[in-house]
């Protein structure tokens, strides 16, 4: 283990880590927005809208993330949509995780007992109010643990963006290795970087879950 080499290249990897964080955060935001949209589409009475949500889900579930990345990055330009690697990366991550996240949200919403919704209807609450005041606050607490797992997966999957030269941590690692021929040291550092990042995310989201589910134990 060449400690000097590791220390020397750490700043470059940290720079990559920063981009990992940025692209993953953007991907999570997009995944969340798309997932909420998918859930909403699945709840409408319009069969066409529900059908679109279903087709989206089926296509994504049957596509490896790397293939999805190539479709976004190489095929969209063919139809005139030229996009930056970074943008392609965040779109891929967001698209890929949207159906899984939608399923988590749907499940959490369905877990709120029907009787509570009827109690809301009985006092005259509107559908949107029931959603925002009764179902939503409880669903968040139930969705957080499984969503945390998905977010961690998304962070780790951001490594595939290195193949289209997004300057995230894995890409930086490959650059460093090309220069130093020290894959072992560099990948140990990279692994530690991903581990710390996912660990911190898990810690943060677990705290958040504790806060929003306080009513279960108070």
């Amino acid at each position: 283990m060449d400690w000097g080499l590791m220390l020397e290249n750490t700043p470059l990897l940290l720079l990559g880590l920063r981009w990992t964080i940025v692209v993953s955060s953007a991907g999570m935001a997009l995944a969340l927005a798309l997932a909420v949209g998918l859930v909403a589409m699945g709840r409408t009475s319009n069969r066409l809208v529900r059908g679109i949500a279903r087709v989206h889900t089926e296509i994504i579930l049957g596509t490896p993330n790397l293939v999805l990345l190539f479709i976004v990055f190489f095929i969209l330009p063919e139809v005139g949509l030229v996009i930056e690697p970074f943008t392609a990366g965040l779109i891929t991550l967001g698209l890929y995780y949207s159906p899984y996240l939608a399923e988590v949200i749907r499940g959490a919403m369905n877990a709120v007992p029907r009787g509570q919704i009827e109690a809301g209807e009985a006092i005259g609450l509107s559908g949107p109010r029931i959603l925002t005041r009764i179902v939503g606050p409880q669903a968040i607490g139930m969705a957080l643990p499984p969503a945390t797992g998905l977010f961690i997966g998304l962070i780790k999957d951001s490594a595939i963006l290195s193949v289209i030269s997004v300057a995230e941590m894995t890409f930086q690692a490959k650059q460093v290795i090309a220069r130093t021929y020290a894959p072992f040291e560099v990948y140990v550092l990279v692994a530690v970087g991903y581990w710390v990042l996912t660990f911190l995310l898990e810690l943060g989201l677990r705290r958040l879950e504790g806060r929003v589910t306080r009513y279960r134990s108070l």
Binding site: P113, G115, Q116, E118, A119, G120, E121, A122, I123, G124, L125, S126, G127, R129, R133, I134, P137, Q138, Y215, R216, S217, L218
Partner: protein, 272 residues
């Protein structure tokens, strides 16, 4: 036609779930201040009737009127009915209070927050005004000291009393109780019934679906016996309990009476 208007009236209500008829042309009308208890075997349609009366499950056919106003429908000029808009239906619903068998409190809200939710969100009261109005209700159900407790910290009986306060906070014209004590441990039934007796004594208009024959005998102005989706017999509790006309009600009540007298005999603490 100088008949006073019933607080709530169901006319020829039919309700089917798929091909299964649950209610067959049930008509029930309750005058302001009247307490009506609905009894009958499981599956006789009692709970479904209540849910039709506040449109939680709209009837397949028939009408419901609250204070003479058609519920969930609007009367056309030619006397026919058209479905009512979502908003108007919500406004009507808020005039009918409902207490559920499973309490259905919102667990992420404290007892007080459960009670003020409707007044704040539906009626548009400020939080302070809503609390001011909720406090006497919490007092009335005997839970003033539990106002900041979350439902998970309350017993079933306490939860059901909060649920009653929640319904009362909307100042409903009619209160519907759907087997309010059936999900409770036996020792907690009394505290809920005593709140309900209070309400009855204050001439709150109530329809109570219940298996508590004792409560019905004591608090009801009228008892309704249902079986197989029909009202078999109705009248003053004394008449229904002691001289039922119909064979079906007699059989049902006999079973009940023998069970409750057996219970009384087995319980040395009950004064006879």
């Amino acid at each position: 036609m100088s008949e006073p208007t019933p607080a709530i009236e169901g006319r020829a209500i039919d309700k089917s779930f798929g091909d299964t008829p649950v209610l067959r042309s049930v008509s029930l009308s309750v005058m302001p201040g009247e307490v009506v208890c609905v009894v009958g075997p499981s599956g006789s349609g009692k709970s479904t009737l209540l849910r039709c009366l506040n449109w939680l499950s709209p009837p397949t056919a028939g009408e419901v009127f609250i204070a003479g106003e058609p519920l969930g429908k609007r009367r056309n000029a030619d006397g026919t009915f058209a479905p009512l808009g979502e908003r108007a239906l919500r406004r009507q619903r808020s005039r009918i209070g409902m207490v559920f068998q499973q309490f259905n409190l919102w667990p992420h809200r404290t007892a007080l927050e459960n009670v003020i939710e409707g007044p704040m969100i539906v009626r548009g009261l400020s939080r302070r005004d809503a609390i001011e109005r909720a406090e006497p209700l919490m007092e009335m159900v005997g839970l003033a000291d539990k106002r900041d407790a979350y439902p998970v910290r309350l017993s079933g009986g306490q939860q059901q009393r909060v649920a009653i306060a929640r319904a009362l906070a909307m100042e409903p014209e009619i209160l519907l109780f759907d087997e309010p004590t059936s999900a409770l441990d036996p020792e907690l039934v009394g505290e809920v019934l005593s709140v309900m007796k209070d309400l009855a004594a204050r001439h709150t208009t109530m329809i109570v679906v219940t298996h508590e024959i004792g409560f019905a005998a004591e608090a009801a102005d009228r008892m309704v016996f249902m079986d197989e989706g029909r009202i078999v017999e109705e009248g003053p509790p004394r008449t229904i309990l002691h001289t039922p006309k119909e064979e079906r009600s007699r059989r049902f009540l006999e079973k009940f009476m023998s069970r409750s007298s057996a219970m009384l005999a087995a319980d040395p603490e009950t004064p006879r």
